[in-house]
């Protein structure tokens, strides 16, 4: 306690211990690039945002939590486990297919024999996929659901199924296709189907380096954060 007040420094680069940042799997490329840009020493833990939420509820020693939704950090805030979350980016859901795939539209996903991969209903990309499918006519939705072969626990696992040639298509974020550097192709969805995908970030209460954690969160919405996120295929936060 007095040790912390004795140091009082808030520069994230000269801290004795690196910050621990739990982040949505879809941020796997963007956040390390951002941490490099601001020179912060960070240890990342990437997984499905739902799993990271559960870990924080179980008391995992995390400094910053960045989720692929605003609901999960908001829920933790309501439970008093984190500080007030900030929306820092948005993303769009796309149909990701291998670069040489013949699939070109959402209608193609209704064809029998198409192996489709999605997320569990708990993980954000799985929840967004369900939102999107709910906006389709029932027959089309049922045909697409009949082609779902696996429900993955995070979006990178779904990407892996595509790049390994196990699956024909998956609903992923646009940024995941950017990150797959040419191996995958994104098929954009009609705007009326597009769910709003917003990313929330927050400082976890009990962090041993709250000042550094707050600086990390604040800079994420600044120029360095914006640039790293844009380069990784993310969009600015809704209305921002």
């Amino acid at each position: 306690m007095f040790l912390a007040s004795g140091c009082g420094g808030s520069d994230p680069s000269d801290g004795p211990t690196p910050l621990t940042v739990s982040a949505a799997a879809s941020l796997t490329e963007a956040l390390p690039a951002y941490a490099d840009a601001i020179g912060a020493g960070v240890r990342f833990s990437f997984a499905g945002s739902d799993e990271l939420t559960a870990q924080i509820r179980q008391g995992a020693p995390v400094d910053v939590f960045a989720a692929a939704s605003t609901e999960l950090p908001d829920a933790l805030f309501a439970e008093g486990l984190v500080e007030k979350p900030v929306v820092f980016a948005s993303n769009s859901l796309v149909i990701a297919v291998p670069a040489n795939s013949g699939i070109d539209s959402i209608q193609d996903l209704t064809e029998p024999g198409v192996d489709l991969v999605t997320g569990t209903e708990e993980v954000p990309f799985g929840a967004y996929t369900r939102d999107l499918l709910d906006r389709l006519p029932a027959a089309q939705r049922e045909a697409i659901l009949a082609n779902v072969r696996s429900e993955e626990s995070d979006v990178k696992a779904a990407v892996g199924k595509l790049t390994q040639g196990a699956a024909d298509a998956a609903f992923t974020y646009a940024s995941d296709v950017t990150a797959a550097s040419g191996q995958l192709r994104a098929i954009d969805l009609p705007p009326r189907l597009q769910p709003e995908v917003a990313y929330g970030v927050t400082v976890v209460k009990g962090s041993e380096r709250p000042d550094a954690a707050r600086a990390f969160v604040a800079d994420l919405t600044g120029p360095d954060g914006r640039r790293a996120l844009r380069d990784a295929g993310f969009e600015p936060p809704p209305g921002g």
Binding site: D50, E51, A54, R149, E151, E152, S153, G165, A166
Partner: protein, 268 residues
């Protein structure tokens, strides 16, 4: 023989620490949720289905492991040939392979774009996203647990018994079935229990190779991880069932192999 008290104290301390470290997490599973809640959350859709799938897939995998592993272990135990230790190392490789790596390796071999993917497709066989793929993943990771134990058990069979059988005119196959397998029964049972337990707990290879879909590829460990985020009680309940099943498997193997060991001792 002298026994130094300090050394004895060290041994007792080491065992106590080991025991607490290994059992406390298991105890915590049962301490974490009252029995009534546990049973209630098992009634939830998907939980029983995941358990059924786990049992079905692991028993199938065990049958395959026994059918191929027993003769293979016998061969390794009774023959010396060039490259034998290399073969043994290769057979044991899945023991030390990270399960996720095993899954990727299986995809690279048996997946649609894998080494044998074309052959499988021509044969109309699908493994990825199918229960058969779960069985393949379980068989891959669990085989060495059985084969190692079976090989050791066969090596420990009294050679004079085998010699007597041959002297009496029994062929190799007959000696294997009538003498070697019954004599090695204790070890074979222990190996089966270890392999079965490993198969029941398999997670990474299944997820990567076969995927996760309720009723088809989502085994109990996969269902547990899926529930971890949102429904901790249900995750704990499924965990508790797996603990009980694993303990039952281990205890029955110990009991059976104990009585089998006594039986073969008596015979000898």
């Amino acid at each position: 023989m002298t026994r130094l008290p300090w050394f004895r104290g060290l041994l007792v301390t080491a065992l106590t620490v080991t025991l607490i470290f290994l059992t406390l997490p298991v105890v915590a599973i049962f301490a974490n949720a009252p029995p009534r809640e546990l049973i209630a959350s098992l009634g939830e859709e998907g939980a029983l289905e995941a358990l059924r799938l786990s049992l079905q897939a692991s028993v199938t995998a065990l049958a395959i492991i026994l059918a191929f592993g027993t003769p293979a272990a016998w061969f390794l135990a009774t023959r010396s040939f060039r490259g034998r230790s290399l073969v043994i190392t290769l057979v044991e490789l899945p023991l030390v392979l990270p399960p996720a790596v095993a899954g990727i390796a299986l995809l690279a071999t048996l997946g649609p774009g894998g080494l044998l993917g074309g052959l499988l497709e021509d044969a109309g066989l699908r493994l990825v996203f199918e229960t058969a793929g779960v069985v393949v993943a379980l068989t891959f990771v669990a085989s060495p647990f059985y084969i190692r134990q079976a090989q050791a058990a066969f090596e420990a069979v009294d050679p004079t018994l085998l010699q007597a059988s041959r002297t009496l005119g029994s062929g190799e196959a007959r000696t294997f079935l009538r003498i070697a397998v019954p004599s090695a029964r204790a070890g074979l049972l222990t190996g089966s229990a270890l392999a079965w337990g490993r198969a029941l707990g398999e997670f990474g290879a299944t997820l990567v190779f076969a995927g996760s879909f309720q009723g088809i590829t989502q085994t109990a460990p996969l269902a547990i991880v899926q529930r971890f985020g949102t429904d901790f009680t249900s995750a704990i309940a499924l965990s508790a069932v797996l603990v009980v099943v694993s303990v039952v498997i281990l205890l029955s193997a110990k009991y059976l192999s104990g009585s089998a060991g006594k039986a073969s001792d008596a015979r000898a």
